[in-house]
Each structure stands twice: as C-alpha cells, then as structure tokens.
C-alpha cells in the first residue's frame, strides 16, 4: 500500500505539500481548521457570499485555484475542512500520531479522530507579532492581519479612518486592501528609517530580480498608495493609543534607528481604527509538541529536503522562516515530495531546492530591511499591559523578574500570570521572553501541549474510527 502522508494546514505551504506527496504516489490527508483551503494568503470568501470574482483581491489566484482543484479533486487525497489538530503524540518509532477534532470552530461535541501517518508535514503558518505599547489593548486597535483577514475574507473594513503602523512589507498589502474596500488610510508608518529599509532592499540586486513576482506585487502596492495620496513614512511609529473604552487617538513619534523615540516629535492623530504589525510569529506549538528542534529558538529547523529533527516529520512555510507565500509553496512541494517517499535525486526536486533557496535569500533581505529595533521597550510605562489575557503590566513583570522569586522565567510567569491566560502566550510569549532576557532564564514560549482548545466532554469521548477511504466535504 502507498504511504499515507498527513498535511496540517492548507495554506500555500500545505497545499504545496499535498501536491508534492501526491506526485510522489502517496495517499494524502490534508486538513485545516478553516472551512476552506488557502490559508492566510489565499483566504477564500465564504461560500454564502457567492463571489463570482474572488480573484480580484488576490495575486496569483488562477494558480491557486488550479493547485487547489488538482489537490482536492485527486483520488488519493482526502480533504478535511474544519479539522483542528489539537495535539500530536510522539511514538517510539515513526512519526507522531495526530489528534484531530472535526466540526464547527470551538464547538462542543466535535468528532475526535486519531491519524497514524507514515509521513507528517506541518504547515500551520504564523500570526502577526505586535509589540506592546500603552493603550494597545483598547478596542479598535487591531493587528494588521486582522484588518487584512476581515477585508479579504468578509469584505469588512475595520474602521474609517485607519492608521497603519509597525514594520515590514506586510504593511503595504494591508493598506491596499483597506483602500480597495473604501476606507480612508491616513498614513502608513514604517518604524525603520529609510536608510535601513533602502539598504535591505537595494543589496544584491540579482536576488531581487529572481523574485520579480513578489517584488512586482510590492511595487504595485506602493503605486496604489501614491495614487491615493496615502503617505508612507519611515522612521515613525505609533507609541501610544488613547481613548475612552475604545481607540480615539494614536500618538506617533519619530524613531532613531534602534527604535528609541526622538523626544519632542510626538504627534496626535485622531483615528477610528489602528492596525499594527511588527512582523510574524510562527505557530510553533505543533513542531515543539512533536519534538522538533528549533533554529535559534525561533523557527523549526529543517534540512535541505524540509526534514525536521524528528524522523518522518517535515515542516514548510512560515514555521521554518518568514519568506512569503511563493517560498511557502515551494517548501511545501519539497516537503510533500520527501514525505511521500519521492526520489531525492529527482530533477524537479533539485529545481525546487534552487527556487526555495532563492526565496530564502529574499526573506533574508526582507529581515534585514525591517528589523525590530532593540530600544522598543522605551515606549513602555510601568502600567503598560504586556500580557493582554491576564493584564500583567510591564512594572509588575520587571519587579517579579528582579525580586526574590526571580531566577526562572517559569517562576516569573507563575508569579505574574503573564502568558497563562486563554491565548497561552501566543501573543505575549516572545515579548515576555525578550523583556526578561538577562534577568530570568529558561522557559519556552512555544510550549503548548494543547495546540487548539478541546472541551472536557470531547476529551472524554473515545475517538471515532478513522475512515481510510477518500472522503471530501466539498
């Protein structure tokens, strides 16, 4: 019988992985917590909208549709929508077992399934990283990704007028989406100075040429901003949000290259909504639960064929490095090919590796153009909330780190509850780790044995028999 490959996540990386594994002759189960494939990049409008031209909002939509239809319609592929992986269990031999809940998001009484694959590809993607600033917990302050997901996925503008701030190329597509949806975008603020951005983008022009698609996409956004007279300002950031029960004003300021505030440059801007991003945090709970080694504590470590340190487990997309959708798809194709038992000497695989390496070089250039400045904690005040769930503030965190209970990050977390709320440190984990560096050691912000919430009643139910035959919901 052919190998069974389970792919978690159906974004560019997961769809690519499914295609790669199918090409290698494997049987594939592709699953996603969402109702539709596409992930964050090719977020499909809900079926009930009956959108005749969803591609109007997307780059590379045709290619996505072709890949999606080929994968989902393949006789060896089972597509499981609304299927959340809540845990992976290490085994003595072979890849871990995959525990799945099937049914409506956060429902009660979803079906439990356990999959025992021959190869497992993890492609769960990332979410926005937002650094804290005073008032960031006010309603009306959104991650840039939230604004993007709601505009693309539900045709909703989060507010009007909006200010978009933070760092990274992602600011541009978010601004473009909000403009397209009819909102007034006041300005787009990139925290890094023009010199840093330009140096990162201008270095090694041959790499840029090799990524013509992605570079052209970004140039298109820049043109749109210009046509709508939306200023793109560098070296300026939002350092505070103010308002009574909701955001009403953003305070912006000029920044030095290390993101320390230039005194006296503060400006107050009335806003209806504020959209912020400072990069992406990979969703590492599944690779960590599977026992995969991390690279620099920040990403899943993979070899030339997207193999992790755990036999039979492969990783692709944003969990291996933030490189954008085309890179994610290429990594997926490679991961799927290897997981499905494809020949490593295959000519197409060699070409994919070269393409993946060029995309990674492009990612390196982006990272260099949009670093996070080390002096950002200068925005914080003692009463600034760092952990949104538990409302732990900066002062309390520092006090605990310096106090008698110090020594371990775990002790600080238990003492302040930072990172122990419903989001399980997804939002504040990397920030708390950074703030405590040099004060309290240890602790892994990515350890979340329960990757998605499961209810006690569901846990008490035995798993249903896992169907082996093809089944497809759409």
């Amino acid at each position: 019988m052919s190998r069974h490959v389970v792919v978690v996540g159906s974004g560019p990386a997961g769809l690519g992985a499914a295609a790669g594994a199918l090409r290698a002759g494997a049987r594939v189960t592709l699953l996603d917590a969402a109702e539709d494939p596409g992930g964050q990049y090719h977020r499909m409008p809900p079926a009930a909208f009956g959108a005749a031209r969803p591609g109007r909002l997307h780059h590379g939509w045709r290619g996505f549709e072709r890949l999606r239809d080929r994968v989902l319609g393949h006789p060896r592929c089972a597509w499981w929508p609304e299927s959340a992986v809540w845990s992976v269990d290490r085994t003595e031999q072979g890849p871990p077992h995959v525990h799945v809940l099937r049914g409506e998001a956060d429902g009660a009484g979803r079906e439990r399934h356990v999959l025992r694959p021959d190869g497992l590809v993890l492609a769960p993607g990332a979410h926005d990283r937002v650094l804290p600033f005073p008032g960031w917990e006010l309603p009306g302050v959104y991650t840039a990704g939230a604004a993007q997901a709601l505009a693309k996925g539900e045709r909703l503008v989060v507010g009007d007028p909006v200010l978009i701030a933070g760092s990274g190329p992602f600011l541009l597509p978010v601004a473009a989406s909000l403009i397209e949806a009819g909102a007034t975008v006041l300005e787009v603020l990139e925290a890094n100075p023009a010199a840093t951005v330009a140096r990162g983008w201008a270095a090694r022009p041959w790499e840029l040429a090799a990524q013509a698609g992605k570079a052209g996409e970004l140039a298109g956004y820049a043109g749109l901003l210009a046509r709508h007279r939306v200023p793109y300002r560098t070296g300026r950031a939002v350092i505070e949000a103010r308002g009574d029960g909701r955001v009403e004003e953003a305070v912006t300021a000029r920044l030095h290259h290390d993101w320390s505030v230039v005194p006296g440059t503060e400006r107050t801007v009335p806003v209806d909504a504020l959209c912020v991003t400072h990069g992406f945090s990979p969703q590492l709970e599944l690779p960590v639960a599977a026992g995969c080694r991390l690279r620099g504590g920040a990403f899943t470590d993979v070899d030339d064929d997207q193999r992790t340190s755990v036999p039979g487990v492969y990783a692709a997309g944003e969990i291996t490095g933030i490189a954008g959708a085309p890179a994610a798809r290429t990594e997926g194709l490679l991961a799927g090919w290897a997981a499905g038992g494809g020949d490593p000497g295959d000519r197409a695989a060699a070409a994919l590796r070269r393409r993946r390496d060029r995309a990674r070089a492009f990612a390196g250039r982006l990272a260099a153009a949009h670093p996070v400045g080390a002096a950002w904690p200068g925005w914080l005040r003692p009463d600034t909330i760092v952990c949104r769930c538990e409302e732990t503030d900066y002062g309390t965190l520092l006090h605990a780190a310096d106090g008698a209970a110090a020594g371990s990050a775990r002790a600080v977390r238990l003492g302040t509850r930072a990172g122990l709320g419903p989001c399980q440190a997804r939002v504040c984990g990397p920030t708390v780790a950074e703030l405590l560096r040099g004060r309290a050691g240890g602790g892994d912000p990515h350890r979340r044995p329960v990757a998605q919430p499961i209810r006690l009643g569901e846990l008490a139910n035995p798993p249903v028999d896992t169907p082996d035959k093809k089944e497809s919901a759409r």
Binding site: A105, D106, P139, R155, D160
Partner: protein
C-alpha cells in the same frame, strides 16, 4: 464612521446580494449577512466590544484569526467560542462574557 461591510452592489468580488440573518446578543436582535463570522456581524453592526478582561476592561477583536482569544463569546450556551472563527447562523443566541464568570 466605523467598521462596515463593503456594499454587495459594487463589490469587485461580484458578491451576490446579501442574504440576511439575525442573531441575538444578550437578548437584543442584531442583523447580519450569511457568510459573516460572529465577529463580522458584531463589528458591522457597530459593536466593538463584547468581552471584559480580568479588570473589567472592554475587549473585542484583536488578531482576527484565532490566535489571541480576545473575542470569546458564549454561543447557544457554549462558552469560549472565538467569534472571529465561528460562522454566524441565523438564530444564534450569543451572550457576551467576562473573564471571571467561570
């Protein structure tokens, strides 16, 4: 102005005319459109907050994709449903929640 749905007429995606649905929020009727998430229904109806943090501070949507758990709601009696991930259904009875009401 505040959050709003792009009107179906003139939407570049060629969306079909809106199919209305109605939910209740703490007993009050709120109108939405089939296909919206509960978060989408609430935001488009002009509501930004439906949960309270431990201190009682108001919260609504933050990440929009299920990572931050700021948007939790009780839906048809089931607590802790992420409003940004749950598709609204006509007749859903939604209740706002606060952190300590466990």
């Amino acid at each position: 102005m505040s959050a709003r749905l792009v009107p179906a007429a003139g939407d570049r995606t060629g969306r079909r005319p809106d199919v209305p649905l109605r939910i209740t929020v703490d007993g009050e009727p709120v109108d939405g459109v089939a296909g919206q998430t509960l978060a989408g229904v609430l935001l488009a109806a002009g509501r930004r907050t439906w949960r309270r943090g431990p201190s009682g501070a108001p919260r609504g949507v933050f990440c929009g994709i299920g990572a931050c758990f700021d948007c939790l709601l009780t839906v048809n009696g089931v607590r802790d449903v992420r409003a940004c991930r749950r598709r609204a259904r006509d007749g859903d009875a939604v209740a706002t929640q606060s952190r300590d009401a466990r």
